[in-house]
Structure formats: C-alpha cells, structure tokens
C-alpha cells in the first residue's frame, strides 16, 4: 500500500509540474504582452527555460503574481476567493452524495419500477439541464417571485460566513448539486445493479439478510468504488460549474474572479487560478486513487 501511494504521489507531482509547464506555455503564447504582465519587463527576452524556471521559482515560493487591476496579489485574492468556492462546491458535493446514494440504491433495488423510472427521468432532466439555465430558473421562481431564497449568493467573507448564510446559499448549492446528484446517481445505480448481481449478494440473501442489510452492508461499499473515482475526477467539472454558478449568483469565488480576469485580460489572476485548479484536479485524482485503494483491496494488492 505504501509503495502504491508513493508511486501515485510521484505521478501526481509529475502531473502538477506538467500543469505548470502547460500554463507557462499558454502564458507565453497569449497575445498582448501577457508574459510581460506576469513576469515583468525583460522576461520576453529571456530564454524560455530560464523564464519558466524563474516563474516556477516564484510559484514555489507562493508568489502567483500581482493583479494591478485589483491592486492585490493573486495569493491574497486566492485566500479570499478559494474558501468561498470550496464552501459552494464542498457543500453541493456533500449534499449530492447524501442525496444520490439513497436515490441510487432505491433505484437499483426497485429496478424498472415506477419509482426507478421516475427517478431516472428526473436525473436525466437534471443531468441535461445546464447550470446556466437551471440557476436563473431557480432564481426566477424561488427568489424573485416567491422570495423563498436569496437572488444572489452569500456576500459575507470567509468559509463560515458563506455556509452559515443558508437563505442565500440554498439556490447556488441547489443549482450545482442537482447536476452533481444526477451524475452520481447514474453511476451509483449502475454500480449497485452490478453489485446486486454478484454471488456474495445472493449468499447474503441466502443467509437471510434483509433488503436493507444487503444494500447497506454488501452493496453500498462495493458500489462506492467507482463513485470515489468519479468524485476525484469530477473536481474540474465541479469547479467549471462553479464558474457559471458564481457568476449567476454573484459569488466572488474563484470562478467569479477568473471570469472577470478573462474579461479584463488580467493574466496574473487567470493563470494563477488556472494553476491552482490544475493542482486541485491532480490532488483530487490522487485522493480518488487512495480512496479507491482503500475501498478495494484488490487494487492495492495488484498494483503495489
């Protein structure tokens, strides 16, 4: 297991280095003096490798650049916006899991029943509805017409400030969670159906285990394996969805800042945040691998 984790960690580090290289190449290719804006004048004349190493050195020292537009360092901007995005995406992912797991198990246990068909239809609907449509629709009905929830996201600073504002947090979380629920539920249902067909489930039933016990003790753990991977690999998509949700709900998180930075050609912010998201995706993938190994001993034995 240790060797497996070590190898996976090294691979993740390699991916992160590759991400930095890609980001830097993009920086160098961007028109309008992007590299000069981020690295300072004179950098354009440096050799590519030397410039890259200079930039990487700064990044490793926590210097992601400075946004003169916002009059702030990218790091301080990150410190402000990252907790807001984590609050949004973390809450929505958690809720998605909490909802998707029983949903999928019910669907699997009652395959092709009216309940299954109805829930399948709902998850298809949520899955096929873009957040850019879902968000405004929820705002229109639940905020503007019925005033049940806020029309914009929480504006209080900090992680706690965001998650404690339930009224304003509900719609953005729901927008992001509904799509995620659909994704998780679809995978989980499929995985649970596979598990239900396994011999150990038959054996459990033969031993007299009831439906609940079968689902909770025998099906769930095995069905979660692909979902753990899915969660890890979904991080970029979740963050991508957060860009739209943050714009629609005026939440000044990472997505909001990236959108604004792109509009204003603020390369320091764009690249710094892109890098962080890339690293987040690599870490997510690593955690998924670890979780996968933890849930499925075959993985660590066969790959160690």
């Amino acid at each position: 297991m240790t060797a497996y984790l070590a190898r996976r960690t090294l691979q993740a580090i390699a991916v992160v280095v590759l991400v930095t290289l890609i980001v830097f190449v993009l920086l160098s290719l961007a028109p309008g003096g992007a590299s000069v804006q981020v690295l300072g004048s004179g950098s354009a004349h440096q050799q590519f490798l030397a410039a890259y190493l200079t930039w990487l050195g700064r990044v490793l020292h926590g210097n992601l650049g400075y946004s003169s537009r916002l009059n702030q360092s990218v790091s301080s901007l990150l410190a402000t916006s990252l907790p807001r995005t984590l609050a949004l995406t973390g809450t929505s992912t958690l809720i998605a899991l909490i909802v998707a797991i029983p949903l999928a198990l019910v669907q699997a246990a009652r395959r092709n029943s009216a309940v299954d068909i109805t829930l399948r239809g709902l998850t298809y609907l949520w899955y096929g509805t873009p957040t850019v449509v879902l968000g405004p629709v929820l705002i229109l009905f639940l905020a503007v017409h019925w005033h049940l929830f806020g029309a914009e996201g929480p504006q209080a600073p900090g992680f706690i400030g965001v998650i404690s504002d339930v009224r304003d947090m509900t719609l953005p979380v729901a927008t992001l969670a509904l799509v995620t629920i659909a994704i998780f539920a679809r995978y989980l249902r499929s995985s649970a159906l596979d598990s239900l067909a396994q011999e150990y489930v038959e054996a459990a039933r033969a031993r007299g285990a009831g439906q609940r016990r079968v689902l909770a003790a025998h099906v769930l753990r095995n069905s979660l394996v692909p979902v753990v991977t899915l969660i890890g690999l979904s991080i970029p998509q979740i963050l991508g969805g957060a860009v739209i949700v943050e714009i629609v709900f005026n939440i000044q998180g990472m997505g909001w800042q990236i959108y604004q930075a792109v509009q204003d050609r603020d390369f320091a912010v764009t690249l710094g945040f892109t890098l962080v998201i890339g690293i987040g995706a690599a870490i997510g993938s690593l955690l998924a691998d670890i979780g996968y190994a933890a849930l499925d001993p075959k993985v660590r034995y066969t790959q160690a």
Binding site: G150, A151, E152, P154, A156, D168, Q263, D264, R265
Partner: protein, 633 residues
C-alpha cells in the same frame, strides 16, 4: 490627454459605461450596491415592500466589472489596469476632490460650486488659480496653493509614467508653477498658442491637490513640495501604501487625510467599499444627507437585476442599474418608460453620459482593406447601412439617441455645432443608396454575392487608388461579449451589409481584447472594432485632438486628414471662448461628413432608485455626489 473608452453599455460603465483612460484605462461598470448579512443578520437599508429602514445608509451597486481598488489619485502605468471610471469617480473622487469638478446638473460643464478653486483667469500666457480658502483637509489643514504645487511637482517628476501623459501636455506646457500666495497658484503656459477653454477643461481638469501629509517617505517627512528630485521617493512610498492590502486602507494615516466628503471605513478583498461621511468636509452638502455609502461589485447585469427584484433578500440595493433589455419601452416624448412590474419599490431614471458612440475603421490595416476604408464613398455607403433608429427602437427598447458627428450630441451641449444639431442624423438607413454608391464606383457582386472590384483605378467611377481588381468587400468586425443589444445591432448591420454585397463577419471577444486590438496591441490586421463609446473625462472638452487628429494617441483607427488636422489645430489655438466655439463648429461641420468612424447609437444608463431616496439629477460627467443624497421623510 485622457478620456475613456466606454463599452457599449452599462455593462461596463456608468453613464456610458465607460472607462476613462488611454489604452489601458478602459471603462468599466458602475452598479448596484448591497449590504449584506449572513443568514438574516441583514444590515440592509430598506425594508421589504419599499421604504427605507435605515435612512443614513445607501447601498450602491457597481455596474458589472466596476471595482474600487486603488486610492492614490496619482496613477501611473504601473497601476493602469486599476484605472477606471469607477475607481476614479466612484472611489477616489469621494475622498480626494479634483481641483476642478465637472458635472453640473445633467451637464458635463465645470461645476463652480463643487470645485476647490474659482474658475481660472488668464492674463497673457499666465493662468491664475485661486483656491477657495474654506476647503480643508480632514486633519484641519487648508487645501491651499502648496497642495496644487505638490501635485505639479509630482507630475514633473513622475509624469512621464502617468497614464494620461502627453509629451505636449502637463507639465511640459507650463513653467514657473508657484504658490503666489497661500491660496493662489500661478503658472505660465509655454505654448505659443493655446485655447483658454481647452486649457481649463482638458489640462487643469487633471489636477488633484494632494495634502502635505502625503509629502513623506517611510523614513519621515520629505520635501517634494519644494524639491522635485525628492518626489520620486515620495511617489514610491505613496504607491506602496496604495498597494497594501485593501483591508488596511480604512485605518491608513495616509489615505485617511481627505478633502472630500467621504472617508474610507473599509474596503474588503471582495471589493465591497464602505465610506462614511467626513465631518470635517467643508463643501456643500444636503441637509439630512446620508452618512454611510456602500458600493458593491457585480459581474453581470442579470445578477444585479435579480437582486433588485428581491426586496426580501439579505442584500438590498438602494441605487442600481437596470439592463436595457429589461426596461419597458418609453412612451413618445418620455425619457423613460414605466418601471418594470417586478420593481414596484423603485423609480426609474435615465442618464446619458458625456460620450461619443462610434467604432473605427482601421485605416492602417495590413491585410488589404485599408485602401477601401480610405474611400469616402465606401464610408458613406457603410454608414448608410447602420440603422441607428432601428437599433434604438429594437434592441435598445427606445433608450438611445443617434450619433450625428464627431462630438457627442446628447446631452445637448454648447459644444455641438448648431448646423449638425439642426441636420440631425444625415445617414439614416438607406440600403439602395449604399448599393448605388458601390455600383457606381466599380463594385459588382461575384458568384458568391460578394462585391468585387471590377474597375480598379483612381477615376471617379473606379474603386479607388491601391484597390486591385478582384478585391472583395469582406471585413471582420470584433465586438465585446455580453451585451445583448450590441450583439443584435452588429448582426443587423451584417445583415444589411450582405444586402449590398458586403460580407461582415462577426467576432465576439472580451471587452479588453477588443480595445486592446483596436489600439494596436496585437498588430494591425483588425478591420473594424466596436467597443461602445468614448467618455469625455477627465478631458471634458470634445476637441478632436484626442480622437481624430493624425497620430492622436486615442485615434484608434489612425484616421488622417490634413484639413481635419488644421481645423482641430484652430480649436486648440482659439484663445477666447467665441473664437473657440467658431473653430469647434467649423471643425465638426467638416468632419461629420467625412465619416472618420462609424457612428452608432448612444444609449443611456438606466438607474433604479429605491423609493424615498432623493439622489437628484445625475450628471453626464459620471461623477457622483452621495453627500447630496438623502431620504425623504
């Protein structure tokens, strides 16, 4: 020389949406505001169902993209991207008043009441500025002549880095700047010829007095006030103070010394600004004025509108903006229509910014279209395809005015030529005329329906010099993303153009990409670039030296015309007011027909003000005075 590029609509800047600066200082947006509170702990100023709950606070929503970030009012290229109409007008001007304030009623004229000095007087080449002795800094010191000299010295030392630096402008065009007495500054104008109106409106308008408390470095007091060589260190210190974390600004001993009516209470890293009334402010204020003013940023018009429509939300906006596409069409003769039914607790008003709406041809285009743009008949044909009235009636929902020449025509000012005012829009949609013009100058459609030059040459019936046989009327038009009405208007233009054999391909790009392209940052391959408007601030006089003179820094399309240059020079050399206006009218009357740019509709900002709050008429110079705002009992 400074002024602002305003993206087409309020998505980017209040009152024209604009930004202000040259090249990097594009306008952004102003907007709505908000207070917030977590989970019911609201500090909103207004109660649900209308009527203010807190009559001392106003929450003002910045237009999308607008942001307060940089307090030091002496901005250089190092912080150019922080320069915007919002950072300057909605932030710095609240704290530090410019020597001369522009914006009087709904006009962009010099406001003698709010200016720190009386109107300048000219004697020969010497200009005399008399400051009002009753204006004081919040530390009790008077706003005096030394404060103006301080700014001038700083300009002399650091001006070449300035965002608005012009080698022929301040401080190069003056000498012997001195404090003649406690409240009198004199300076000699070095230009052989100069125009008094131009110097007042476009040069002195740039000065912001700075307090003696700022004449220091980290090690202690300095001497920039008398020794110019000391100013660089002072600038570096002040700039460093301005780039500290925004959370430090509220308690900063530097930024806490203000002569404006407001002081920073807090500016958080999310861009939410809270200013409180400066009790030492010695200028005019309204009785029962508000005492706390909050500005909150937004990214999109729609997000602002959503919040406006939710009167029970934790963030209540007292003054905000309504997207034009959501505005009911005004009845004939009215400036605004009925309020949207979803906003029963607000009052709708419109504000036309002091700006010019147009987009340039690239006369230095290096992909072969420049010789086509050089032809007046082509520009006449192309302008005839722009349906300004149709765009106003359609995508703009009736909110807009056609642009009729090289000077903004709405709000109506004394700067506009009476002839042009009388003639109005001379280039209304006329597809037949455009087709006839092209056909009579050697263009005929090819098999794909695209006009092709079949009569090359310089004769009266030919395509024009340097246009080869087989050249096609195919152009690319770039425009900013995110503005629904502009999207509709350019599509309509492309459609009209296709009817006469001109193929206009459209490319939507981020606003700063469009302006960066139009100002040659990425080469000269672009052909047409629409961003919206040019805001006349802080150079308030609409002389052509900024936009249309050969080699003018903001002449994006690099239009060049010797007669135009001579007529512009006449406006800059016209010494007296009467000479100046004569020269201005002569220049406009000539250039309007030359169509150096494509005239497009000008649209207003639509403001929503919560019932019970009086903010008075908003001026077209895009400056705000919240110290005049008060709640009606």
């Amino acid at each position: 020389m400074r002024a602002g590029l305003a993206p087409a609509r309020r998505a980017w800047g209040r009152g024209g949406a604009g930004g202000r600066g040259v090249l990097g200082a594009f306008c952004v947006v102003a907007g709505l505001a908000t207070v917030l509170a977590a989970c019911g702990g609201t500090s909103s100023t207004s109660g649900a169902g209308g009527g203010p709950a807190n009559t001392s606070t106003v929450t003002f929503a910045m237009e999308p993209g607008g942001l307060a970030s940089y307090p030091f009012p002496f901005m250089t290229l190092a912080n150019a991207s922080a320069d915007s109409v919002f950072n300057v007008n909605d932030f710095q001007y609240l704290l530090y008043r410019p020597l001369y304030w522009f914006g009087e009623g709904t006009t962009p004229y010099l406001n003698t009441t709010l200016s720190l000095a009386y109107p300048p007087t000219y004697q020969g080449h010497q200009v005399t500025i008399r400051l009002k002795s009753y204006y004081k800094w919040s530390n009790g010191e008077p706003v005096d002549a030394q404060d103006v000299v301080f700014w001038m010295n700083m300009m002399t030392a650091e001006g070449s880095q300035g965002i608005y630096y012009s080698p022929t402008g301040l401080p190069a065009d003056v000498s012997h700047v001195k404090a003649a007495s406690k409240f009198v500054v004199t300076m000699d104008i070095t230009s052989a010829k100069f125009s008094e109106p131009w110097f007042t409106n476009n040069e002195l308008s740039e000065i912001t007095p700075m307090p003696m408390a700022w004449d220091r470095t980290a090690t202690g007091p300095s001497d920039c006030i008398t020794t110019i060589s000391a100013c660089t260190a002072v600038y570096n210190y002040l700039n460093a103070q301005s780039t500290l974390s925004p959370s430090t600004f509220g308690a900063s001993p530097i930024w806490g010394v203000v002569d404006g009516p407001w002081k920073i209470q807090s500016l958080n890293s999310l861009g939410k600004l809270t200013v409180v009334f400066n009790k030492q402010y010695s200028g005019p204020v309204a009785p029962r004025h508000i005492t706390t003013f909050i500005e909150v940023p937004f990214t999109s018009e729609q997000a602002e509108y959503n919040v406006l429509q939710d009167p029970t939300g934790s963030q209540i906006i007292d003054v905000g903006y309504l997207p034009t596409v959501d505005a009911p069409v005004p009845p004939a003769g009215a400036s605004v229509g009925a309020n949207p039914s979803s906003l029963p607790d607000y009052t709708l008003s419109s504000v036309y910014a002091w700006q010019l709406s147009y987009f340039p041809y690239n006369f230095k285009n290096d992909t072969g279209q420049a010789p086509i743009f050089d032809q007046l008949y082509f520009r006449q044909a192309f302008q005839s395809l722009v349906d300004q009235e149709g765009v106003i009636a359609g995508p703009l929902h009736g909110y807009g005015k056609p642009t009729i020449g090289p000077v903004g025509d709405y709000p109506l000012t004394k700067y506009l030529s009476p002839t042009l005012e009388r003639l109005g829009d001379q280039w209304t949609l006329n597809i037949g005329y455009a087709r006839q013009l092209l056909a009579s100058h050697g263009w005929a459609p090819n098999s794909a329906g695209i006009d092709t030059c079949v009569h090359p040459g310089g004769g009266p019936a030919d395509c024009g010099p340097k246009i080869p046989s087989g050249a096609q009327l195919k152009f690319n038009l770039i425009y900013p993303t995110g503005l629904d009405w502009m999207e509709s208007s350019v599509r309509e233009l492309a459609s009209n153009a296709s009817l006469v054999g001109i193929q206009v391909s459209l490319s939507a790009e981020p606003f700063n990409q469009v302006t960066g392209t139009a100002f040659g940052q990425f080469g000269e391959s672009w052909q047409l670039a629409e961003w919206g408007s040019w805001t006349y601030a802080p150079d308030y006089l609409p002389t052509g030296d900024e936009l249309f003179e050969t080699n003018a820094p903001n002449n994006a399309g690099q239009y060049s015309n010797a007669r135009n240059d001579a007529l512009i020079a006449a406006t800059l050399d016209a010494r007296t007011s009467s000479e100046f206006y004569t020269a201005m009218y002569n220049w406009q009357d000539y250039l309007a027909g030359q169509l150096p740019v494509v005239y497009v509709p000008d649209s207003p900002t639509l403001m929503e003000t919560i019932d019970g709050l009086n903010i008075g008429p908003q001026n077209s110079a895009s400056t705000i005075t919240p110290e005049d705002w008060y709640y009606l009992k």
